[in-house]
C-alpha cells in the first residue's frame, strides 16, 4: 500500500471517516505519520474551541475580579483559585466522574427559529466534556492574565474617555477593553501555546476512546504498544507539536501587530516566547 493510499484511508480516521480497522501488523512510518496527524485534528479542535469560548468568560472573570463589589469579585477569585490552583489532570478525572453522575436528559434550547435538544449524556464524550474542562481551565488562566492587564491600563486613557463623556459599557468597550487586550496579548499567546500542549492530557483524562478514534496521543501510544518501539511515534508527535506551536506564534504575532498598529513604535508590546503556564 502506498503512502497516498494510507493517507486516503486513514487521513480522517480520527473523526470516523475512512478505514474502520486500525493497522495491526506491518506498521510503516507512513501509517504512523498519517494516523498521528489525523489525531491532531482533535488536539486542534480542543484547543480552538476552548480558547474561543474561554476568551469571553476570561474577560468576564477579569472584570469580576477587578470589581469593587464582593458579589462579583469573590466568585471570580474563587473560580481562578480553584482552576489555577489544582492540576488539570485531576480536574479532568473529577469532571468525568461528575459528568457521569448527571442524569441523562435532553434539554431543549430554543434558538428562536429552531429548537435544539442538547443531551446531557454528550458531556461524558470527549468532544464536549473535555472541551468544557479545557474551557473552564483556560478561562481561569486567561482571566488572571486579563486581570493583570486591566490593572495596568494607563490612567490617562481612562481619563481621556471620561473627558469625552463616555460612560459605563461604552467606555469599557471602546477604550479599556482594547487597551487591556493589547497589554495582555503576549502573555495570552503563551497561554494559547500551553492550552494547545495541554490537550495531550485529554488522552489520560478518563474520557474513553470511541470506535478507536482519538487524539494524536491515542494513536502514538497505540503504535508504541503495537511496535514496542516508543522511539518513533513519540518523536513524530513532538514534531507535529513544534510545527503547530510555530503556527500559533505566527497567527498571534499577526494579531499582535494589528492590535498595536496605531501605537507609536516605542511603546509597542512585544511578544517573547515565554511559556510559563504548563498545568
Amino acid at each position: 500500500m502506498s503512502c497516498y493510499d494510507t493517507l486516503m484511508d486513514y487521513g480522517l480516521r480520527s473523526i470516523g471517516i475512512g478505514e474502520r480497522l486500525l493497522p495491526k501488523t506491518d506498521i510503516t512510518l507512513c501509517d504512523q505519520f498519517v494516523l498521528i496527524g489525523s489525531g491532531m485534528i482533535w488536539n486542534i479542535y480542543f484547543a480552538v474551541f476552548a480558547m474561543v469560548l474561554g476568551f469571553g468568560l476570561a474577560t468576564l472573570v477579569a472584570v469580576g475580579k477587578a470589581s469593587t463589589s464582593p458579589w462579583a469579585s469573590v466568585p471570580a477569585k474563587a473560580f481562578i483559585f480553584v482552576f489555577r490552583g489544582s492540576p488539570l489532570f485531576i480536574q479532568f478525572f473529577l469532571a468525568y466522574e461528575i459528568f457521569v453522575l448527571i442524569p441523562k436528559a435532553g434539554i431543549d434550547i430554543n434558538l428562536g427559529f429552531a429548537i435544539i435538544t442538547a443531551e446531557t449524556r454528550w458531556l461524558t464524550k470527549a468532544w464536549l466534556g473535555a472541551v468544557v474542562v479545557l474551557f473552564l481551565n483556560t478561562s481561569a488562566y486567561s482571566g488572571e492574565i486579563f486581570y493583570g492587564a486591566l490593572q495596568s491600563v494607563p490612567k490617562g486613557d481612562v481619563e481621556a474617555a471620561d473627558a469625552f463623556g463616555m460612560s459605563g459599557f461604552r467606555k469599557f468597550r471602546r477604550i479599556i477593553w482594547p487597551a487591556m487586550l493589547r497589554l495582555a496579548w503576549p502573555s495570552y499567546t503563551n497561554e494559547a501555546i500551553f492550552m494547545f500542549h495541554a490537550t495531550t492530557l485529554v488522552f489520560f483524562s478518563g474520557f474513553p476512546a470511541w470506535r478507536q478514534s482519538g487524539d494524536a496521543l491515542y494513536y502514538a501510544s497505540y503504535f508504541a504498544d503495537k511496535t514496542f518501539n516508543p522511539f518513533v511515534s513519540y518523536p513524530i508527535i513532538a514534531v507535529y507539536f513544534v510545527a503547530f506551536t510555530l503556527l500559533i506564534i505566527a497567527v498571534f504575532g499577526w494579531a499582535n501587530a494589528r492590535l498595536n498598529r496605531h501605537i507609536a513604535p516605542v511603546q509597542k508590546v512585544k511578544f517573547r516566547f515565554k511559556p510559563q503556564f504548563i498545568r
Binding site: 457521569v100 453522575l101 449524556r121 478518563g206 474513553p208 470506535r211 501510544s221 514496542f228
Partner: protein, 241 residues
Amino acid sequence: MRKLVLAASIAAMTAGAAAAETVRMGTEGAYPPYNFINDAGEVDGFEREVGDAICAIANLDCVWVTNDWDSIIPNLVSGNYDTIIAGMSITDERDEVIDFTQEYFPPDPSAYMALAGASDDVVNGVVAAQTATIQAGYVASSGATVVEFSTPDETVAAVRSGEADAVLADFAFLADIVNESNGELIFVGDDVAIGGGIGVGVRESDAELKAALNAAIDQMKADGSLNALIAKWFDGREASY
C-alpha cells in the same frame, strides 16, 4: 513505558530458596478473581496462588509486581519483569511477540453484561471493553461500537452509568459483579469464545524459564492441585486437568 510498580509483595517462597533464582512475576492487579490487590495492599487472587505454587515446585524465588494492562507486554519484552501472569489468553497475535507456557486455566468464554431489562440487541450497540484486550479487538471487528477504557473497573462503571450499553469481558470477572448487583446487572446475548486458554507469558528469548514453568504446571495438573485452586476461586467450577 516504565509503568513499573508495586511494593505489593515480599519474596513469596521460602522452601530452600537460598540459592533460588529470582523471578519477577508481572500482573495487573485489577481483575478479580484472577488477580487483584487486596485490602492489605498485596497481590491476591487465583493467579497469586497458582504463581506461588509454580514457584515452589520449580524452586524459584518469586517477587510480584503490578503493571498497567496496556503496557504489560512492552514492559515484559524490555525486561522490567520476567513473566506475565495476568489472565492473559493465548492468542496468535500475542504469540508473535512473546511466548506462552501451556495453559493453566481452560478457555473461558467472554460474556456480555448489561443493565437489567436490556434486550439482546445491546451486543450490537455501544460495547465497552478494556484497551488492548482480545475483547476490544473482537468488538471492534464485530460491527458494534467499541468504547475503550484502561481498567476493567471503568468498563463496568460505564455500563452502570449508561455510558455504554454493555460490556464484554471474561465470564469469571463479570460473574461476581452480576451476582452482587441485586439484580441491577444481567448477562445478555450469547457468550463468545475468543481466545485460547490462559498461559504464563514469557520473553521469546527465555526458553529455560518457559521449560521450568511448563514442568511445574504439568505437575500441578497431575496432582490435582490446579483443579482444586480453580474450584476454590471460581465458585466450585470443575476443570478437568
